[in-house]
């Protein structure tokens, strides 16, 4: 009965396949680019150390850092990685949960947001580094204070993203759901959550990388284990290779978290592409 004219069709159910190698390279050339740049940078670093003959405590060579890594890996490195990972994980769980719940409430109720906004902004205008000593005084120098600093730093980006996301829900879709007599639960699961997800995941990306900063700042304030503790220790005894190893571990953790969010995005937002 209804007819679709040719010019209306923008969608092709089955796209013509690219030649295999072109499909592969267009898909993976960005993934190749990253390791190649990395190799280039390490080479540059090695050459710089060679050329200027820096002493190891100023700038150790890549080979020296690698040997340091191997000896630490045989020792207590993984314990410190584990401690920092634990702080990051707990901090993320707490910070993000709080951000989702509060963000949803503030996004839904403008009056609540008007009350809370000044405090949230004020709390964010103070650098976490400045609050961290207070947190340590209140919560001690154990795991709790690190988790608290991490939670605090991861909280804000996701909070703002959640508020914006909930706000961005199309009012016409809200009306549609109401005209279908959707329950509160259906409104949340079938409309608000999927509609806000792109924004929330954007916030999550920021939070995930900041989590590493939070854990290290917490550990700087006094700790007996963790990658931040290793950095502090290395500084004290001028063991620069150790600092490098710790930093690289932090970079790896941050990368892994970032990639995890990208993976989530690819899984949950496939409709966007």
């Amino acid at each position: 009965m209804f007819e679709v004219s040719k010019d209306e069709i923008r969608y092709r159910p089955r796209p013509s396949p690219l030649p295999a190698w072109r499909a592969w390279s267009s898909r993976y050339h960005t993934y190749l680019l990253a390791p190649l740049t990395l190799i280039g940078m390490v080479a540059l670093w090695a050459w710089l150390v060679e050329w200027r003959a820096y002493p190891p405590f100023i700038l150790p060579s890549p080979a020296l850092v690698w040997r340091k890594f191997l000896s630490m890996a045989a020792g207590s490195l993984w314990l410190h990685v584990g401690v920092t990972l634990m702080e990051i994980a707990l901090g993320l769980v707490i910070g993000l949960s709080a951000a989702f719940v509060l963000g949803y409430l503030l996004g839904k109720h403008r009056s609540l947001e008007r009350i809370a906004a000044p405090y949230i902004v004020a709390s964010q205008s103070i650098p976490v580094v400045a609050i961290a000593p207070l947190i340590v005084i209140w919560m001690g120098s154990g795991l709790v204070s690190k988790v608290a600093v991490t939670a605090l730093i991861t909280f804000f980006p996701t909070l703002v993203a959640t508020i914006v996301g909930v706000r961005s829900v199309d009012p016409d879709l809200r009306d549609l759901m109401r005209s279908l007599r959707a329950t509160r639960g259906q409104m949340f699961w079938k409309l608000e959550l999927p509609a806000a997800l792109p924004m929330i995941l954007g916030g999550l990306k920021l939070s995930a990388t900041l989590a590493v900063v939070g854990a290290v700042v917490g550990e700087f304030m006094g700790a007996t284990a963790g990658l931040g503790y290793l950095i502090n220790l290395g500084r004290g005894v001028l063991d620069t290779p150790m600092i490098f190893v710790a930093i690289f571990m932090l970079v790896l953790i941050a990368q892994a978290l970032y990639v995890a969010v990208l993976w989530l995005e690819a899984r949950l937002l496939h409709w966007q592409r």
């Binding site: 009965m1 209804f2 007819e3 209306e8 159910p13 199309d170 005209s179 279908l180 007599r181 999927p194």
Partner: protein, 269 residues
């Protein structure tokens, strides 16, 4: 029998910078199987009236009856097609069409899926079931909206300028298809439109709202035979009814000029 009765419905918005009387008390009846088109200048309260009829906002005064029962909240026997295409971009066409079933029955049976696929097929969208809305044109998406609304098997269809964002040709085609569908399924339609020719082409009666605050100033009967065709738009009776409606509205500049539509008729027939 009147499917829908409105008695002294009025609305005043008080949440804006200053209170705004959108709708003065209006009363009307809509008969079963009838098509009523509502026209009026911008801001005359057409959308507001429709949203009140759909139970989406509360009127300040008056009462409504749907199929003989007092009506004040959304009812799934009343389908709503909004001004803007409101599909969920994260759902495929088929998933969008199945939404009313998911909401009402919590789960989707094979029969529902077959029904949805059949509806999409009659809309000429068979091979687009698994496409996402952004991959389709405006006209196709508005058909998906129509299919989604029909999925809930409405007995009354409220439509707010449903094809207003489409080009004139697509719009005419969809109007004719809507007429056929309405005749086949005996649905009652209450449609807001911006275009007088469209109203005359579709309606059994045309309701005219005045400038804000909206009052129901006329109910013009359209005595053209059914089924309606685009060729009728050239008939003298068509022009007379259009003129009559236009006189009621007055010289409101933001109305579609009928010349544009009569040109479309020439190119089509």
């Amino acid at each position: 029998m009147a499917v829908f009765v409105a008695e002294q419905i009025s609305k005043r918005f008080v949440d804006g910078p200053r209170p705004l009387q959108a709708l003065l008390p209006v009363s009307f009846e809509v008969e079963a199987g009838e098509i009523v088109c509502l026209v009026g200048p911008s801001g005359s309260g057409k959308s507001t009236l429709l949203r009140i009829m759909g139970g989406l906002i509360e009127p300040d005064s008056g009462a409504m009856w749907f199929e003989g029962e007092l009506h004040h909240a959304p009812n799934t026997a009343i389908g709503f097609v909004f001004q803007k295409t409101n599909l969920m971009p994260w759902r495929t066409v088929l998933q969008n069409v199945l939404l009313p079933i998911e909401i009402q029955h919590k789960k989707v049976t094979d029969a529902d899926r077959a029904h949805a696929e059949a509806l999409l097929a009659t809309m000429g969208l068979k091979e687009f079931e698994h496409a996402y809305p952004r991959q389709l044109s405006g006209g196709m998406n508005q058909r998906v909206v129509l299919a989604r609304t029909l999925m809930q098997r409405p007995r009354l269809l409220l439509m707010d300028e449903p094809f207003g964002q489409l080009d004139a040709l697509t719009r005419e085609r969809l109007n004719l298809e809507l007429l056929r569908l309405q005749a086949a399924q005996k649905i009652t339609i209450f449609m807001v439109t911006h275009s007088i020719p469209e109203a005359v082409l579709l309606a059994d009666r045309i309701f005219v709202l005045s400038e804000r605050p909206g009052r129901l100033i006329a109910q013009v009967a359209v005595s053209l035979p059914r089924p309606r065709t685009l060729a009728m738009m050239g008939a003298p009776a068509f022009g007379e009814i259009a003129m009559q409606v236009r006189r009621w509205i007055g010289e409101t500049p933001d109305f579609d000029d009928s010349t544009q539509n009569s040109r479309a008729v020439e190119t089509l027939d």
